[in-house]
Protein backbone atom coordinates (compact mmCIF):
# COMPACT_ATOMS: atom_id res chain seq x y z
CA UNK A 1 0.00 0.00 0.00
CA UNK A 2 1.25 3.45 -0.87
CA UNK A 3 1.46 6.31 1.62
CA UNK A 4 2.17 9.95 0.94
CA UNK A 5 4.17 11.80 3.58
CA UNK A 6 3.79 15.57 3.20
CA UNK A 7 6.17 17.78 5.13
CA UNK A 8 4.99 21.09 6.59
CA UNK A 9 7.80 23.29 7.75
CA UNK A 10 8.38 26.86 8.84
CA UNK A 11 11.98 27.66 8.10
CA UNK A 12 13.79 26.46 5.03
CA UNK A 13 17.19 24.85 4.72
CA UNK A 14 18.02 27.51 2.14
CA UNK A 15 18.56 29.90 5.04
CA UNK A 16 21.23 27.61 6.51
CA UNK A 17 25.01 27.98 6.32
CA UNK A 18 26.79 25.76 3.77
CA UNK A 19 27.95 23.48 6.61
CA UNK A 20 24.44 23.13 8.07
CA UNK A 21 23.12 22.56 4.57
CA UNK A 22 25.64 19.80 3.89
CA UNK A 23 24.90 18.14 7.21
CA UNK A 24 21.16 18.36 6.57
CA UNK A 25 21.49 16.87 3.08
CA UNK A 26 23.61 14.00 4.42
CA UNK A 27 20.84 13.15 6.87
CA UNK A 28 18.31 13.21 4.04
CA UNK A 29 20.54 11.03 1.87
CA UNK A 30 20.85 8.52 4.73
CA UNK A 31 17.07 8.51 5.25
CA UNK A 32 16.35 8.02 1.56
CA UNK A 33 19.02 5.36 1.12
CA UNK A 34 17.48 3.43 4.00
CA UNK A 35 14.04 3.73 2.37
CA UNK A 36 15.48 2.65 -1.01
CA UNK A 37 17.21 -0.37 0.53
CA UNK A 38 13.99 -1.35 2.31
CA UNK A 39 12.16 -1.31 -1.04
CA UNK A 40 9.88 1.47 0.23
CA UNK A 41 10.94 4.60 -1.63
CA UNK A 42 9.02 5.57 -4.77
CA UNK A 43 9.78 9.30 -4.82
CA UNK A 44 11.00 11.91 -2.36
CA UNK A 45 11.34 15.57 -3.30
CA UNK A 46 12.16 18.81 -1.50
CA UNK A 47 10.20 21.79 -2.82
CA UNK A 48 11.29 25.32 -3.54
CA UNK A 49 10.10 27.95 -1.09
CA UNK A 50 6.33 28.54 -0.98
CA UNK A 51 6.88 32.07 -2.33
CA UNK A 52 7.65 30.43 -5.71
CA UNK A 53 4.23 28.74 -5.82
CA UNK A 54 1.46 29.52 -8.25
CA UNK A 55 -2.10 28.62 -7.29
CA UNK A 56 -4.84 27.88 -9.80
CA UNK A 57 -8.41 27.93 -8.60
CA UNK A 58 -10.82 25.93 -10.71
CA UNK A 59 -14.45 26.96 -10.26
CA UNK A 60 -17.55 24.90 -10.95
CA UNK A 61 -18.24 27.12 -13.97
CA UNK A 62 -14.90 25.98 -15.39
CA UNK A 63 -12.96 29.20 -14.79
CA UNK A 64 -9.23 29.04 -14.08
CA UNK A 65 -8.05 31.80 -11.74
CA UNK A 66 -4.27 32.03 -11.39
CA UNK A 67 -2.63 33.76 -8.43
CA UNK A 68 0.95 33.97 -7.17
CA UNK A 69 1.80 32.27 -3.90
CA UNK A 70 0.70 29.12 -2.10
CA UNK A 71 -2.89 27.97 -1.49
CA UNK A 72 -2.84 28.76 2.23
CA UNK A 73 -0.93 31.67 3.78
CA UNK A 74 -0.04 29.68 6.86
CA UNK A 75 3.21 29.81 8.81
CA UNK A 76 4.05 26.20 8.08
CA UNK A 77 4.07 25.42 4.39
CA UNK A 78 4.42 22.31 2.28
CA UNK A 79 8.18 21.85 2.00
CA UNK A 80 8.47 18.43 0.42
CA UNK A 81 7.01 14.97 0.20
CA UNK A 82 7.85 11.30 0.15
CA UNK A 83 5.82 8.59 -1.54
CA UNK A 84 6.46 5.23 0.12
CA UNK A 85 5.31 1.66 -0.32
CA UNK A 86 4.49 0.31 3.15
CA UNK A 87 2.84 -2.80 4.56
CA UNK A 88 0.50 -0.69 6.71
CA UNK A 89 0.00 2.63 8.48
CA UNK A 90 2.33 1.66 11.35
CA UNK A 91 5.17 1.17 8.91
CA UNK A 92 4.39 4.54 7.29
CA UNK A 93 4.38 6.21 10.72
CA UNK A 94 7.72 4.57 11.54
CA UNK A 95 9.20 6.12 8.37
CA UNK A 96 7.64 9.47 9.29
CA UNK A 97 9.34 9.42 12.69
CA UNK A 98 12.70 8.91 10.93
CA UNK A 99 12.34 11.88 8.57
CA UNK A 100 15.34 14.12 9.30
CA UNK A 101 13.36 17.31 9.93
CA UNK A 102 14.22 19.46 12.93
CA UNK A 103 10.82 21.01 13.44
CA UNK A 104 7.51 20.73 11.67
CA UNK A 105 4.66 18.35 10.91
CA UNK A 106 4.38 15.33 8.65
CA UNK A 107 0.97 14.33 7.37
CA UNK A 108 0.71 10.65 6.54
CA UNK A 109 -2.03 9.89 4.00
CA UNK A 110 -2.92 6.57 2.45
CA UNK A 111 -3.17 6.51 -1.32
CA UNK A 112 -6.63 5.68 -2.61
CA UNK A 113 -7.12 2.69 -4.87
CA UNK A 114 -9.48 3.79 -7.64
CA UNK A 115 -9.05 0.72 -9.84
CA UNK A 116 -12.65 -0.37 -9.16
CA UNK A 117 -13.70 2.76 -11.08
CA UNK A 118 -11.39 1.99 -13.95
CA UNK A 119 -8.66 4.43 -12.88
CA UNK A 120 -5.19 2.93 -13.04
CA UNK A 121 -2.33 4.49 -11.10
CA UNK A 122 0.65 5.05 -13.38
CA UNK A 123 3.03 5.73 -10.53
CA UNK A 124 6.16 3.60 -10.76
CA UNK A 125 6.98 0.83 -8.30
CA UNK A 126 9.61 1.48 -5.60
CA UNK A 127 13.10 2.34 -6.87
CA UNK A 128 14.32 -0.99 -5.53
CA UNK A 129 12.22 -4.05 -4.75
CA UNK A 130 11.96 -5.16 -1.13
CA UNK A 131 14.50 -7.84 -0.24
Amino acid sequence: MKYLLTFYVESRMADSSPEEMKEGLERWNAFENEAVDAGALIACEPLEDSSTATTIEITDSGERITTDGPFAESKEQLGGFCLLECANLDEALAWASKVPMNDGHIQVSAVRDLSQYGYDSHTAAPVRAAA
Binding site: L4, T6, Y8, K22, L25, E26, W28, N29, E32, N33, V36, L41, I42, A43, C44, E45, P46, E48, S50, T52, A53, T54, T55, I56, E57, I58, T59, D60, T66, P70, F71, A72, E76, L78, G80, F81, L83, A92, L93, S97, V99, M101, N102, D103, H105, I106, Q107, V108, S109, A110, V111, R112, L114, Y117, G118, Y119, S121, H122, T123, A124
Partner: protein, 132 residues
Protein backbone atom coordinates in the same frame (compact mmCIF):
# COMPACT_ATOMS: atom_id res chain seq x y z
CA UNK B 1 12.63 20.51 -14.19
CA UNK B 2 10.22 18.84 -11.82
CA UNK B 3 7.02 20.34 -10.45
CA UNK B 4 4.51 19.18 -7.88
CA UNK B 5 0.82 19.83 -8.41
CA UNK B 6 -0.93 19.63 -5.04
CA UNK B 7 -4.65 19.00 -5.57
CA UNK B 8 -6.76 20.65 -2.88
CA UNK B 9 -10.54 20.43 -2.69
CA UNK B 10 -13.52 20.08 -0.42
CA UNK B 11 -14.12 16.50 0.52
CA UNK B 12 -17.23 14.39 0.31
CA UNK B 13 -18.57 15.67 -2.98
CA UNK B 14 -18.58 12.22 -4.54
CA UNK B 15 -20.19 10.29 -1.68
CA UNK B 16 -23.68 10.48 -3.18
CA UNK B 17 -22.47 9.95 -6.74
CA UNK B 18 -23.91 7.01 -8.62
CA UNK B 19 -21.49 4.41 -10.01
CA UNK B 20 -22.10 5.96 -13.46
CA UNK B 21 -21.25 9.49 -12.27
CA UNK B 22 -18.20 8.16 -10.47
CA UNK B 23 -17.09 6.36 -13.60
CA UNK B 24 -17.58 9.50 -15.72
CA UNK B 25 -15.42 11.53 -13.32
CA UNK B 26 -12.75 8.83 -13.19
CA UNK B 27 -12.69 8.64 -16.98
CA UNK B 28 -11.77 12.34 -17.10
CA UNK B 29 -8.96 11.85 -14.58
CA UNK B 30 -7.80 8.74 -16.37
CA UNK B 31 -7.55 10.50 -19.73
CA UNK B 32 -5.77 13.47 -18.09
CA UNK B 33 -3.21 11.14 -16.49
CA UNK B 34 -2.73 9.09 -19.65
CA UNK B 35 -2.10 12.24 -21.65
CA UNK B 36 0.56 13.37 -19.15
CA UNK B 37 2.14 9.90 -19.40
CA UNK B 38 2.10 10.06 -23.20
CA UNK B 39 3.65 13.55 -23.14
CA UNK B 40 6.58 12.24 -21.10
CA UNK B 41 5.65 14.50 -18.16
CA UNK B 42 4.25 12.01 -15.65
CA UNK B 43 6.62 10.83 -12.91
CA UNK B 44 4.12 10.02 -10.16
CA UNK B 45 0.59 10.89 -9.14
CA UNK B 46 -2.07 9.43 -6.91
CA UNK B 47 -5.36 10.17 -5.21
CA UNK B 48 -5.45 10.13 -1.42
CA UNK B 49 -7.93 8.59 0.96
CA UNK B 50 -10.19 11.02 2.88
CA UNK B 51 -8.25 13.27 5.25
CA UNK B 52 -10.09 11.75 8.24
CA UNK B 53 -7.88 8.69 7.72
CA UNK B 54 -4.66 10.75 7.81
CA UNK B 55 -2.24 10.85 10.71
CA UNK B 56 0.06 13.71 11.58
CA UNK B 57 3.47 13.43 13.19
CA UNK B 58 4.80 16.46 15.03
CA UNK B 59 8.57 16.75 14.91
CA UNK B 60 10.44 18.94 17.37
CA UNK B 61 14.17 19.00 17.80
CA UNK B 62 15.26 17.06 20.88
CA UNK B 63 11.81 15.56 21.46
CA UNK B 64 10.16 12.29 20.52
CA UNK B 65 7.83 12.53 17.49
CA UNK B 66 4.17 12.86 18.53
CA UNK B 67 1.54 11.10 16.40
CA UNK B 68 -2.03 12.37 16.27
CA UNK B 69 -5.08 11.40 14.20
CA UNK B 70 -6.28 13.59 11.38
CA UNK B 71 -4.68 15.88 8.81
CA UNK B 72 -2.15 18.65 9.49
CA UNK B 73 -4.74 21.42 9.06
CA UNK B 74 -8.42 20.99 9.98
CA UNK B 75 -9.61 23.02 7.05
CA UNK B 76 -12.62 22.48 4.82
CA UNK B 77 -10.41 21.99 1.80
CA UNK B 78 -7.88 19.20 2.02
CA UNK B 79 -5.07 17.68 -0.01
CA UNK B 80 -6.83 15.06 -2.12
CA UNK B 81 -4.08 14.03 -4.47
CA UNK B 82 -0.92 15.08 -6.25
CA UNK B 83 1.05 14.84 -9.44
CA UNK B 84 4.82 15.00 -9.91
CA UNK B 85 5.55 16.17 -13.45
CA UNK B 86 8.63 16.83 -15.55
CA UNK B 87 8.03 20.15 -17.33
CA UNK B 88 10.27 22.49 -19.24
CA UNK B 89 9.27 25.47 -17.10
CA UNK B 90 6.71 26.88 -14.67
CA UNK B 91 4.53 27.98 -17.59
CA UNK B 92 4.13 24.41 -18.76
CA UNK B 93 3.43 23.24 -15.19
CA UNK B 94 0.72 25.91 -14.88
CA UNK B 95 -0.85 24.70 -18.15
CA UNK B 96 -1.01 21.20 -16.67
CA UNK B 97 -2.61 22.65 -13.54
CA UNK B 98 -5.25 24.46 -15.62
CA UNK B 99 -6.10 21.17 -17.32
CA UNK B 100 -6.82 19.31 -14.06
CA UNK B 101 -10.35 17.90 -14.37
CA UNK B 102 -11.54 19.45 -11.12
CA UNK B 103 -15.18 20.39 -10.88
CA UNK B 104 -14.28 22.75 -8.08
CA UNK B 105 -10.90 22.90 -6.41
CA UNK B 106 -7.45 24.41 -6.24
CA UNK B 107 -4.08 23.35 -7.60
CA UNK B 108 -0.86 24.59 -5.97
CA UNK B 109 2.10 24.32 -8.34
CA UNK B 110 5.55 24.16 -6.76
CA UNK B 111 8.97 23.67 -8.34
CA UNK B 112 11.03 20.82 -6.91
CA UNK B 113 14.30 21.96 -5.40
CA UNK B 114 17.44 20.68 -7.07
CA UNK B 115 20.08 19.97 -4.43
CA UNK B 116 22.02 17.49 -6.53
CA UNK B 117 24.97 19.88 -7.01
CA UNK B 118 25.30 19.89 -3.20
CA UNK B 119 25.53 16.11 -3.03
CA UNK B 120 21.85 15.27 -2.56
CA UNK B 121 20.92 12.02 -4.24
CA UNK B 122 17.74 12.09 -6.28
CA UNK B 123 16.21 8.63 -6.51
CA UNK B 124 13.06 9.37 -8.45
CA UNK B 125 12.71 7.21 -11.55
CA UNK B 126 12.04 10.05 -14.00
CA UNK B 127 9.02 10.13 -16.30
CA UNK B 128 7.22 6.80 -16.68
CA UNK B 129 7.47 7.25 -20.43
CA UNK B 130 10.11 9.39 -22.14
CA UNK B 131 9.00 12.42 -24.13
CA UNK B 132 8.67 11.69 -27.83
Amino acid sequence: MKYVLALISEEGGMEDASPEEMKAVMDRWDSYTRKAVENGAFIAGDALQPSATASTVKIKEGEEPVVSDGPFAESKEQLGGFYLFECKDMGEAIEYAKGIPFHDGTVEVRPVMDFTDLGYEDFDPGPVKAAA
